[in-house]
Symmetry: C2
């Protein structure tokens, strides 16, 4: 199963690192705790819509851009799951395992 | 402020209605309570990533498609907010008021 919070977390972390900013800087500007932002970035906590908007504001990235990138990542993951189920040989082992984990055990790693 | 849960809720409700299905049918198939699904559709409750995936599964709509549509709606709303702030005359009054409400008071309705 592809989880929205993991993809959102990845995109937010990527945006922050691209700007060369620390968790402390962004969390302070977004008025969220450092621990909360860290958990959101690692996909361990669901960001509420308000706090997601606040984090996007602190990163100066439109929410729509984050969602667009997330949508593309989710689409890629969905296709990988389908491919892995249908034609396991076309997916590298480590990638297939990663996808299998995300798919919640849908795919048994070869 | 554009809130993710409101846009997700709108898109999910639109998809369900397009299929001519009831809240009861979809909630039962998604294994969520009818009240929960109803609140999610109205943007009153954040759907967890797991339950969002489950609702998308019940609707037979890829999560990526939902997010792509949500991203476009959020982009449109973001542009409306910017336009409303910059050139109030170009936005119909009722629309400007709606956007103003969503923007959390950023824009004062004329």
């Amino acid at each position: 199963m592809v989880l929205l919070r993991q993809e959102i977390g990845d995109v937010l972390r990527h945006a922050r690192r691209q700007q060369g900013r620390t968790l402390r800087e962004v969390s302070s500007q977004a008025r969220v705790s450092l621990g909360y932002l860290s958990e959101v970035e690692r996909g361990q906590k669901e960001a509420s819509s308000e706090l997601l908007a606040s984090i996007c504001g602190a990163l100066d990235v439109p929410l729509s851009s984050v969602l667009s990138e997330v949508s593309q990542r989710v689409a890629a993951a969905e296709n990988l799951v389908v491919d892995a189920v249908r034609v396991p040989d076309t997916v590298p082992d480590d990638l297939a395992k990663d996808v299998a984990l995300r798919a919640g055990g849908l795919v048994s790693a070869a």
